[in-house]
């Protein structure tokens, strides 16, 4: 279970990104909605949902929504999640959001994230309004019935809570350091 509950405030971080910058919550203070996604390069669930993450950022960028994607996987267990591999992945896929490296895993542990991908949506006051999965069909976007993340963003933009506040994150476990 995540450490954050609905209504809890976002936990700050200071992490390097593949674009060469270092980001913290303050860098997104002008955004109406902040979406923090724990993710990685290697998990097939992430790769199945990855294009949808890019599409959501594209579709909501003009509305003041920002996705921030954090990779905390232990590189010894997943060499494909090295920072260099992250830079390459971000370039190949044309990530339109910051892709951050949580080398110490402190941020992932603070949030209580367990899976990749695992989504935390925060409203303008940076209160948690949704936690869980992106939608209900990783295999086939055309078969999605519940667009949890999109509906949570819509609700947050309208200043209300989404109908679904929490779903069970579906994906690979974060690879923790021993």
């Amino acid at each position: 279970m995540a450490n954050l509950r609905i209504g809890d405030r976002a936990i700050d971080f200071r992490l390097p990104a593949t674009d060469g910058r270092t980001y913290s919550l303050a860098d997104f203070q002008d955004k109406k909605v902040l979406v923090v996604i724990f993710s990685c390069n290697t998990c097939p669930y992430v790769r199945a949902w990855e294009d949808r993450m890019i599409a959501i950022q594209r579709d909501y960028a003009d509305k003041g929504v920002q996705l921030v994607v954090i990779n905390a996987n232990d590189v010894r267990k997943q060499p494909g999640d090295s920072f260099e591999a992250m830079v390459q992945r971000a370039r190949e896929k044309g990530f339109n959001f910051p892709y951050l490296r949580d080398e110490t895993q402190e941020v992932a542990r603070a949030y209580g994230a367990e899976r990749t991908p695992e989504v935390f949506v925060f409203d303008a006051a940076r209160r948690l309004v949704y936690h869980g999965k992106i939608d209900d069909n990783y295999e086939d976007e055309a078969q999605v019935k519940n667009h949890y993340l999109r509906r949570a963003i819509d609700a947050a933009l309208e200043g209300r809570l989404p109908e679904v506040l929490e779903t069970l994150p579906q994906g690979c476990t974060i690879k923790w350091k021993d």
Binding site: T42, R47, A48, E139, G171, C172
Partner: protein
């Protein structure tokens, strides 16, 4: 036909993958025991040449021909590439079907 199904508990796709394997075997009219083995440690992963969960081998051959090129064995979730290029944690139905057909053809030869 000897079918092995190897999985790592922390990858949630294994139950659905096993059900899919059974479904395709039934559709193809193949009655074969599936040897289901759980991989729990990195040592087991190395010993079993386990490139990710779930892994399906028919008569010792991985259902994905591309698996032959992979030599990094670890407790990890496996990414399958579907015919349309999309990535999935589940082995595609057609990949399973092709592997069954190949094994049947080899057995008949």
């Amino acid at each position: 036909m000897h079918i092995e199904f190897l999985y790592w508990e922390e990858c949630p796709s294994h139950e659905e993958a096993l059900a899919r394997l059974r479904e395709v075997l039934a559709e193809e009219g193949v009655k074969a025991e599936i040897e289901v083995r759980r991989i729990d440690t990195e040592e087991q992963a190395q010993a079993e040449r386990f490139i990710g969960s779930p892994t399906i081998r028919i008569n010792g051959v991985d259902i994905d021909p591309a698996a032959e090129r992979q030599t990094f064995y670890s407790l990890t979730c496996r990414a399958y590439t579907r015919d349309d290029g999309r990535i999935s944690p589940l082995p595609p139905v057609e990949m399973i079907r092709r592997a069954i057909h190949a094994a049947l053809a080899q057995e008949r030869a």
